[in-house]
């Protein structure tokens, strides 16, 4: 067991039926009357944002302003712009409706406002912030993957160098996260599958990285089981409410897990692939997971072996000899990804998402500077990252 660990999760979760309709009373309890709604163009177009706004309005709370132009791969400049907008509109709280990019952007905006700064760049770091002014902050995730609604980290791209910057502080965590299956029901099968795999990566890396601890592993292993049992059903049938709800909860639990124990090389390389080659985060996670697990195997066999029952069930795991369980865990991950690929065609290789091989050197250079790599079970230099990329090609 680790000789020392910290665990923090102060997010109030509103989970299940009619959860959206409770946002108004929660904001009222936080003393807010003028929330700024944050979302993106797609969610506005398909009506997801208006579902949330209508739920709030039905309980007598109208947004003071709406900003719905957050791009897929948001940046520090977007954060700074929205902070100015918030001040101009005289808002008193933030409600973010979206996936990872929207939520992380909202976290950044909240940081800028609570720390009373103009530029978020000055706030990057690790545990280096004081609490600051309290800006009430509600998050409504629309994917079941990022877990960002419960994490103390925001990952935002720096336009000037394309690098994804990390802002790590418990004060990044939202006050309230709303898990309502109406938000994920319309998610297409491919997005359901890849975001589900993203959640699986969070859980597996949280349980096996150097910062893993008993509490984060409790959340992580429970999340792995829920994902293994439900991601295929949710992908096959998006209307399966039970599977959708399980995936949303699993994503949240995986978020709590990795927020308290970090992630690892899958994320370090995935962030770099996103920054350099614009590979969507969840897709990069899906592709890289088995290859990084194989790379880590020599240093993490015990950790992976312990995950087997959570991946395949106790009965099946029991029949696998102890010394073969780590490899069996990797095989289970590969089998799951292949099954999802057969259902909806999620990409399994970097060549499928048009990553040019000549970008590998740049990706590796960025990846070794990513904070997630520091706690990976096995160290990796640029040459080793390129080996992983080649294996994933």
């Amino acid at each position: 067991m680790v000789p020392y660990f910290e665990f923090h999760n102060a997010v109030k979760l509103l989970c299940g039926e009619l959860a959206l309709e409770r946002i108004a009373i929660e904001l009222e309890n936080l003393g807010c009357e003028k929330p700024l709604m944050l979302s993106d163009a797609v969610l506005t177009k398909i009506g997801t944002l208006s579902t949330v706004i209508k739920a709030m309005e039905s309980e007598g709370l109208e947004p003071a302003a709406v900003y719905s132009d957050i791009p897929v791969d948001s940046s520090l400049a977007v954060v700074n712009r929205i902070a100015v907008f918030y001040r101009e509109q005289g808002c008193d709280s933030i409600v973010a409706v979206g996936g990872g990019s929207v939520i992380d952007t909202a976290k950044g905006v909240r940081l800028v406002l609570s720390q009373n700064k103009q530029d978020i760049l000055s706030l990057s770091g690790l545990d280096n912030l004081v609490r600051g002014r309290h800006i009430p902050f509600v998050v409504v995730p629309t994917t079941a993957g990022t877990g960002s609604e419960c994490t103390g980290v925001a990952v935002i791209r720096n336009d000037s160098n394309g690098v994804k910057m990390e802002f790590l502080s418990p004060y990044v965590e939202p006050d309230i996260a709303v898990i309502d299956t109406r938000m994920t029901q319309g998610l297409p099968p491919k997005a359901t599958a890849t975001t589900g795999m993203d959640a699986l990566v969070h859980a597996i890396e949280a349980c096996t990285c150097q910062q893993a601890n008993p509490l984060s592993s409790a959340y992580g292993t429970a999340a792995i089981r829920m994902i293994a049992e439900n991601v295929v059903a949710a992908t096959r049938n998006g209307k399966d409410k039970q599977a959708r709800f399980a995936m949303a909860l699993a994503s949240t639990m995986a978020g709590i897990a990795f927020s308290n124990s970090m992630v690892g090389a899958v994320h370090a390389i995935g962030h770099a692939l996103g920054g350099v080659c614009h590979v969507p985060h969840a897709v990069a996670m899906t592709i890289l997971l088995p290859h990084v697990m194989r790379y880590n195997l020599s240093h993490c066999a015990e950790g992976y072996a312990r995950l087997l029952p959570w991946l395949v069930g106790d009965e099946e795991a029991m029949h696998v000899p102890v010394e073969k369980r780590a490899q069996a865990a990797i095989d289970a991950v590969v089998a799951l990804a292949r099954e999802l690929n057969a259902i909806c065609g999620i990409p399994l290789t970097l060549s499928e998402v048009n990553v040019p091989k000549d970008a590998f050197a740049h990706v590796a250079e960025v990846a070794v500077n990513d904070g997630a790599l520091i706690v990976n079970p096995r160290a990796a230099d640029e040459a080793q990252v390129i080996e992983i990329l080649n294996a994933a090609y």
Partner: protein
């Protein structure tokens, strides 16, 4: 006890700076890290409450040791003196320190990663493998004999090579 720990940490911080200066010339990986490092990047390492500090800056040619640094590119603060003592006496690696929430950091995580790689190489020279095996998942190989590194550092101290630049 704190006074002794503080004294040891102060000495090791000086040695770390000296090792960076010397290994930049002896070890190709250290040389490459500095070659890629943005010119003007500075690190402030503070330990505990008013404990020893190390301020260094890469000016593109030399690793300067500074008396003060008001606006460092990367500011690390080890949270307590016992933690700093463990970190700088080979009882805990930088990755382990990160995993155990032993420090806070202001600046870009990428700059901590650069420092972590450099410190790992420095420790591979300064400490025997029996120690480094316990504090790193993978210990970097030394490119030259550690005695050569120690010799150059000792000579550097004798000739006052590592004095404050400003």
């Amino acid at each position: 006890m704190r006074a002794i720990q503080s004294l040891v940490v102060a000495i090791v911080l000086r040695v770390v700076h000296a090792a960076l200066v010397e290994l930049r010339e002896l070890d190709s990986r250290v040389a490459q890290e500095f070659a890629r490092m943005p010119e003007g990047l500075s690190y402030a390492i503070r330990t505990g409450h008013r404990g020893p500090t190390l301020f260094v800056e890469w000016n593109g040619q030399e690793v300067l040791r500074l008396r003060e640094l008001t606006n460092p590119g990367c500011a690390l603060r080890i949270k307590s003196m016992p933690l700093a003592f463990r970190l700088f006496t080979g009882q805990m690696g930088l990755a382990q320190a990160y995993a155990r929430h032993a420090f806070t950091m202001g600046g870009e995580v990428a700059d901590v990663m650069r420092l972590a790689r450099l410190v790992n190489i420095v420790e591979a020279y300064l400490f025997p493998k029996i120690i480094t095996r316990h504090i790193m998942t993978d210990v970097p190989e030394t490119e030259v004999n550690f005695l050569r590194a120690y010799g150059r550092i000792a000579l550097g101290f004798l000739t006052c090579k590592y004095k404050f630049s400003r």
